[in-house]
Subunit: 143 residues, 2 copies
DNA sequence: CTTTGTGCAAACGATTTGCAGGATG
DNA sequence: CATCCTGCAAATCGTTTGCACAAAG
């Protein structure tokens, strides 16, 4: 339980978001997982035990959190929109076999020289996506 | 007209794809543009003068070309699937103001050390996405 | 001629929206 | 107590599919 109720409430309030049970639950859920779930996965998780939220509300909560800058969207597969509560700059690794996505800490990829691009372009930020196979899949489908 | 009819026909045949007017047109269209269009944009372009192809056919042509490895999908915005006939490895620049996407030649970004990742991960390839503002937008909304 | 592609319209799945009732600040 | 949120159902949008006919090899 790495995240305190108070911290979450605090974060929401700072962003002028009303603290409702549903919105709180969505954000807490995202903070507690690192698997970049989709809206539906969050919904399923929230309603695992007892009904907690509806589809429409999860979508709107995610949208609110996104606009507030508390979560980011991760787009690495066609037609799949994932969410991530880790908003600090970082990169991603995607396993081509099982599809899992894991974070790569920002400083694990260094020395990236983006300075040499066409002059006139104003570079603001960048992101690296690494594709390959995770441990498990590398073993299973090894080669 | 940088691409010859014969080359296109040749490329399709090599991939065991039947050469139909529609499929030819879709591929030729992609080869002639660098703006990473969506399926709908390709369709509109093909039917600009006279009806040339249908929605379903453009979708299936793109799918066939994609599976054959003649085009790639580019996913930088939520819910927008773009296509690119440049299948050589390269990076992308996306203007946050006008949304245009342009290619960054592979060798324009060097010295990327992907070796330091968690051992066990088998890295196959990577891609860099750079976000910022293009010349035009940098001027207009300058800061 | 056998196989594959085309085009229409209907089907689909993820996301969004309209709206009435309910909760938040 | 004014504003914003929830949840339901209907609407939307891009993409896919079923099928009859046409074209490619």
């Amino acid at each position: 339980m790495p995240h305190h109720t108070d911290q979450i409430v605090q974060a929401l309030k700072e962003k002028q978001l009303r603290v409702t049970p549903q919105r709180f639950a969505v954000y807490a859920n995202l903070l507690d997982r690192t698997d970049h779930p989709t809206a539906e996965q969050v919904l399923l998780d929230l309603n695992r035990d007892a009904p907690m939220s509806s589809q429409a509300t999860v979508y709107s909560s995610l949208q609110a959190l996104y606009k507030a800058g508390l979560v980011r969207e991760v787009l690495l597969e066609e037609g799949v929109r994932r969410y991530d509560a880790n908003v600090a700059p970082h990169h991603h690794f995607r396993c081509e076999s099982c599809g899992t996505i894991e974070d790569i800490a920002w400083n694990e990829i260094r020395d990236l020289s983006v300075g040499g691009l066409r002059p006139g372009l104003r570079v603001e930020r960048y992101e690296v996506t690494v594709y390959g196979h995770c441990e498990t899949c590398a073993k299973t489908y090894s080669a």
